[in-house]
């Protein structure tokens, strides 16, 4: 699968690149779902000793066992497979907190995964020049309800229902790096009950 081509977008949305192996003492790779393909893609250009200095944190989501065997076959020094970002959050923050100079960070997969891990890395003082990103897989969005502030993960339709307060929200094309989320705004505020049919806009 090639890297995702996004349509021209707003200036608050991050631009994602393509992962490449960079010199470093340690390598932390955080991925979800099809992001595994970007990590596996590094193998061809990786020096022989790379994986012995690498910690992989992987959240397969709907891909289940598709990639976990191949990732393990890379023989990383540490490998964690977890059910959700929320579940892996403490481990990720702990890893950033204990990181030393010379760490290279590789984030790949959905925007929600990369955005949250990026925010955690920056908060821990990792220089942004040591962080790479590559989008893979679903373009589903992580949305913050501007009304109740609750986050709804993996939104694929517009409008959608806030998973916290139940309001019908439209997807505003505005992104906060701090929250790692797009903004959801009530769609029927001016005419309550008048909610257009849901359309799948992100896959």
């Amino acid at each position: 699968m090639s890297k995702t081509e996004f349509p021209p977008s707003i200036t608050s949305r991050p631009v994602y690149g393509e992962l490449e192996v960079r010199p470093g003492k340690h390598h932390l790779m955080i991925a979800d779902a099809e992001g595994a393909e970007a990590i596996l893609g590094l193998a061809s250009s990786a020096p022989a000793d790379l994986w012995a200095q690498t910690h992989i944190i992987y959240i397969p989501k709907s891909t289940g066992e598709t990639y976990t065997g191949d990732l393990r076959a890379l023989n990383p020094a540490q490998m964690y497979v977890g059910p959700s970002y929320e579940a892996a959050k403490q481990r990720i923050e702990d890893t950033f907190a204990k990181a030393h100079m010379g760490l290279q960070v590789y984030l790949t997969g959905t925007e929600g995964l990369m955005g949250q891990a990026m925010a955690a890395a920056i908060a821990a003082g990792i220089p942004h020049t040591a962080i790479q990103t590559e989008h893979r897989g679903s373009t589903a969005r992580r949305m913050q309800c501007v009304h109740c502030k609750g986050i709804t993960e993996d939104v694929t339709t517009d409008p959608f229902v806030c998973s916290h307060c139940g309001l019908n929200l439209f997807v505003r094309d505005h992104y906060s790096r701090r929250l790692a989320a797009f903004q959801g705004v009530c769609i029927d505020a001016e005419d309550p009950g008048n909610v257009p049919p849901q359309v799948e806009v992100f896959k």
């Binding site: 608050s12 502030k149 992104y175 906060s176 701090r178 009530c186 001016e190 005419d191």
Partner: protein, 348 residues
């Protein structure tokens, strides 16, 4: 000067009113019969018009006391409307000094500032405040410095940190906003927080404006006017509460539009702060009903022409596209086609 402060509300029963004097000094934002974006920044210096909202650094008007009461209610309901990232505390103190000195100088009958070294005594007569505190010591104020002084100053405030050749919205007090969320936008740079504005990016507006602002000097503040439309004199047109106030926008008729529809004008000023090198960006909201606007014949004619000819995207972005036909129909009664004079002020 002595100001008679109104006892009025900006919610529920909406008792807000402009006195005849307030209408005359309203900062009408259109200097000609059409409107398009521009980098319309000019020096924030006093005009030779005593009593205008451009006379002083921070305008205090008849709505002051009631606006501050409304702000306190908004903050009680949602404390996230006031936030300051940890590195912005010094900029907050800069703001305390800037506002206190300006108000004590410009309105000596209302505000007093007495300094004894770092021990400062601040007297705010309209709000009944008499506090003594130690400058730069947070523990001597009841709130953080930015929150303390902006609970006593009309208008929203954003404090912009300057680094990496950009401006970062890293602190703010935002309770009277035209549909943007501080809680969402805090920490963003200049291009990021303007991302949802249509057309202006392609026009190069933000690149030019940022270049100008990065070079803003101490003692040389600038200002511009911006505008939108609000149904009822509602100060808190926040996205947070949009699901509560949005329905009011669909209640306009030919009979009530003159009373309910308000032109919402933002007097935006920008000041360089001395210690932090941050930029203080106050966004002061003035409201005026259509009825009151058309009492000035020049404004009635001009508003009709501006609204009629405004590009579709702007009416959409400013959130009044659905009500525009009704506005044009009502306003056309006040446009006899006569020419209008240049500039924003009423004809004498």
């Amino acid at each position: 000067m002595t100001i008679q402060f109104n006892d009025e509300t900006f919610r529920d029963d909406f008792t807000f009113r402009n006195s005849p004097e307030a209408i005359k000094r309203f900062p009408f934002p259109f200097h000609e019969d059409s409107y398009m974006y521009s980098v319309n920044l000019e020096p924030h210096v006093a005009l030779k018009r005593p009593g205008s909202p451009f006379e002083f650094a921070f305008d205090v008007d008849e709505h002051y006391v009631s606006e501050m009461a409304d702000r306190a209610k908004v903050l009680a309901d949602d404390p996230l409307r006031c936030q300051s990232l940890p590195h912005m505390t010094l900029a907050g103190w800069d703001l305390v000094e800037y506002i206190m000195e300006a108000k004590a100088r410009d309105y000596p009958d209302l505000f007093e500032l007495h300094k004894d070294g770092d021990r400062w005594r601040w007297i705010n007569k309209p709000l009944g405040i008499d506090d003594t505190f130690t400058f730069l010591d947070e523990s001597t104020l009841p709130y953080g410095p930015m929150e303390y002084i902006t609970r006593q100053t009309q208008g929203d405030f954003a404090l912009l940190d300057q680094r990496d050749d950009n401006l970062w919205m890293d602190a703010g007090m935002v309770t009277t906003q035209a549909d943007w969320s501080l809680d969402f936008d805090i920490g963003m740079n200049f291009f990021e927080w303007h991302a949802p504005v249509p057309k202006a990016h392609e026009m190069g507006i933000f690149v030019r404006a940022l270049k100008f602002l990065l070079n803003l000097q101490q003692g040389a503040p600038v200002r511009r006017l911006n505008w939108t439309m609000t149904v009822n004199p509602l100060l808190d047109t926040s996205p947070e509460n949009y699901h509560k106030w949005g329905e009011m926008k669909s209640k306009l008729t030919m009979d009530n539009i003159g009373e309910k529809q308000h032109l919402r004008v933002e007097l935006q000023t920008l000041f360089r702060l001395p210690r932090s090198n941050a930029i203080c960006f106050p966004i002061r909201c003035y409201l005026c009903s259509f009825n009151d606007l058309v009492s000035v014949p020049k404004w009635g004619r001009r508003l009709h022409r501006v609204i009629r000819d405004l590009p579709e995207e702007l009416a959409e972005y400013k959130g009044f596209i659905a009500n525009r036909p009704l506005m044009i129909e009502w306003l056309s009664q006040y446009d006899d086609g006569a020419p209008t004079s240049d500039g924003i002020f009423p004809d004498e």
